[in-house]
Amino acid sequence: MSRYGLLARFSGPEALSEAARRLRERGYRRIDAFSPFPVPGLAAALGMRGTRLQWAALAGGLLGAAATYALILYSVVIDYPINVGGRALNAWPAYLVLAFEGGILGAALATFFGMLVGNRLPEYHHPVFNARTFSHAAGGGFFLLVEAADPRFRAEETQALLAALGAEHVEEVAP
């Protein structure tokens, strides 16, 4: 029988974090945890090494600001220069306001879409939704998923380990 993995339900965020840390210590690598609200340190316990979103935001911000300023410069210096009493064509203090707004817009778009791309969302379906106990209906529970593809995965052994770590319920997830 093929399976995607084992899904264990825990009573709360503390038990979940603890179990995630223990599994990781035992060499499990293809594990994921689910919670109804962000649990501090849980992603780190699962082996996540921070995100690169801040660089995406910085790049988006710089790009947005530079593109806005470049558009203005092109329009007033190259495409349609108008000499009004010898005033500078590149009136940078006025253009910085627009460059600032463009920068904020670029950074915000990069942050939002960076989050979606990093999380591979939107996603049409994920095997974890096959589990009977997995639902957000009650706000969502605290779950730990061990994928069958994990090199250390042994069905009975892993199930016993999850129970020993304090899981309230362990269930097989269909692929």
């Binding site: 689910f34 962000p38 699962l46 989050m115 969302l121 209906a137």
Partner: protein, 463 residues
């Protein structure tokens, strides 16, 4: 927290709790989800919505009239070419700013009490920005050419005037609208997943399923979600200050007595927060009662909002004093005459009503008992809403009506169209708030759940 004794001997906690009673996540998602997912709505909802829908029709009729007859149909004339279209625009933008302050700035300052009011405050921001954005476009006279503000390639070979604050304004408000929408939608994702799994009908499962983008609450997802949520907040905070500063520069750039003043940016930003918090209170007090969520949106929230109103209101009052002082101190006869006509001229009743609403009524909030009495707070918030609208109108109109050349002095009077459009937009805004409360969770489920969990941990820890 220490308790203070009241004169009548009863003891009252110095700070009411952020959340009343013990809650857990299933109960919170049940209650908040039920507001959206229950079948029939109370009759009061429909009656109120019907009233608002009539105002939406008034709005549409007034806009049609304005566009077909021309901008002269409302109170403007020459020299007073800016009227309620501009003052209401400034007022609406200000309303929106409180939402961003609550959702972004209080998030960065780690104020847990924002959790139950941030969602509807953000929705309020979006709808207020939508209303605000319509006004300058309607004011254009030929509103169908508004896209000329965009740098589009076209056959006239013209570009926007990049040095003009009006173009900055367009960019700032468009950016603000987009960033507010992203921030709001991102915060909705986990709650949409809750609604998706709670929904019973196929249509709703599809709707919320598509909107939730497949959110499953993975720890990896939460980590990226949190870091990007904080980054968006950090981007929104300077943005919100820039938006109203730029709106004020629309005035301050102009060589008009009463407009040309360097105090405008901070004064406008404070006024925005002031009126915005007044609007939050105006909406929150009936909302918490109508949906019985007084234990989630508590007296503490209203108390804190009232304190922010005091801070912002005192800055606004300082702005009034400094405007009058510098008009006198400058020794400029035009400035002095403009200020004098504000105080005793044709708009004097508006000026004094504004002082009473914004600077005098506000002082009642120094008393804790007033801040924690919902009827009193509601009345004060309404007065501040009115006062801030009057302030915008007085600023917009009194300058051009008493310009440099006495031959060009003129007054402006309001017509039915001014009222039709303003009350129409107010009704449309509230109708949108009603629809929002019906379709999306008005209280953030995951943040309130997190708060409830932390509170339970803390209580168990002390026991």
């Amino acid at each position: 927290m220490a308790e203070t004794a009241r004169p009548d001997g009863e003891r009252e906690p110095a700070r009411p709790p952020v959340m009343v009673g013990r809650h857990d996540l299933p109960e919170i998602s049940e209650r908040i989800g039920a507001i959206v997912l229950r079948g029939a709505l109370p009759r009061g909802f429909w009656l109120a919505f019907f009233g608002l829908f009539v105002l939406v029709l008034v709005f549409l009729y007034s806009i049609t009239y304005l566009v077909s007859v021309g901008v002269g149909a409302y109170g403007i004339n020459i020299p007073v070419a800016w009227g309620t279209m501009i003052s209401s625009f400034v007022w609406w933008i200000g309303i929106g700013h409180a939402g961003t302050l609550i959702s972004a700035v209080l998030l960065l300052l780690r104020q847990p009490w924002r959790a139950s009011i941030n969602r509807f405050a953000e929705a309020m921001t979006l709808f207020a920005v939508a209303m605000a954005g319509l006004y300058p476009i309607l004011h254009l006279g030929r509103p169908w050419y508004f896209y000329w503000l965009l740098p589009l390639p076209n056959t006239h070979m013209h570009w926007p005037q990049w040095r003009s604050p009006l173009v900055w304004d367009f960019a700032a408000i468009a950016t603000y609208g987009v960033v507010s929408l992203l921030f709001w939608y991102m915060g909705l994702l986990p709650d949409l997943a809750v609604l998706r799994d709670r929904a019973r009908s196929r249509g709703r499962q599809l709707l919320y399923g598509i909107l939730a983008l497949g959110w499953r609450g993975s720890a990896f997802h939460w980590a990226r979600f949190e870091s990007s949520y904080y980054m968006l907040a950090a981007l929104a905070a300077p943005l919100v200050v820039s938006v109203h500063s730029i709106v004020s520069i629309d005035f301050a750039y102009a060589m008009v007595p009463g407009y040309h003043s360097t105090i405008f940016p901070p004064y406008f930003v404070a006024g925005a927060l002031y009126s915005g918090f007044a609007m939050v209170v105006t909406i929150a007090i009936p909302l918490r009662r109508a949906f019985s969520v007084e234990d989630l949106i508590t007296v503490r929230h209203m108390d804190n909002a009232a304190k922010i109103m005091i801070a912002a209101g005192m800055i606004v009052t300082y702005g009034y004093v400094s405007e009058a002082f510098f008009a006198w101190y400058s020794g400029e006869s035009y400035e002095r005459r403009m200020m004098w006509s504000r105080v005793v001229g044709p708009y004097a009743w508006m000026f004094w009503a504004m002082i009473v609403c914004n600077a005098v009524v506000l002082q009642a909030l120094w008393w804790r008992r007033v801040r924690r009495s919902m009827p009193a707070l509601f009345v004060i918030a309404l007065a501040i809403n009115v006062g801030m609208w009057l302030e915008r109108y007085v600023i917009v109109v009194s300058g051009p009506s008493r310009g440099y050349l006495p031959a060009a002095w003129n007054d402006q009077s309001l017509t039915w169209l001014d009222f039709g459009i303003f009350f129409g937009s107010l009704g449309t805004f509230l109708a949108l708030v009603f629809l929002f409360v019906r379709v999306l969770p008005a209280i953030t489920i995951f943040e309130v759940g997190e708060l409830a969990h932390e509170r339970r941990q803390a209580q168990e820890g002390t026991r």
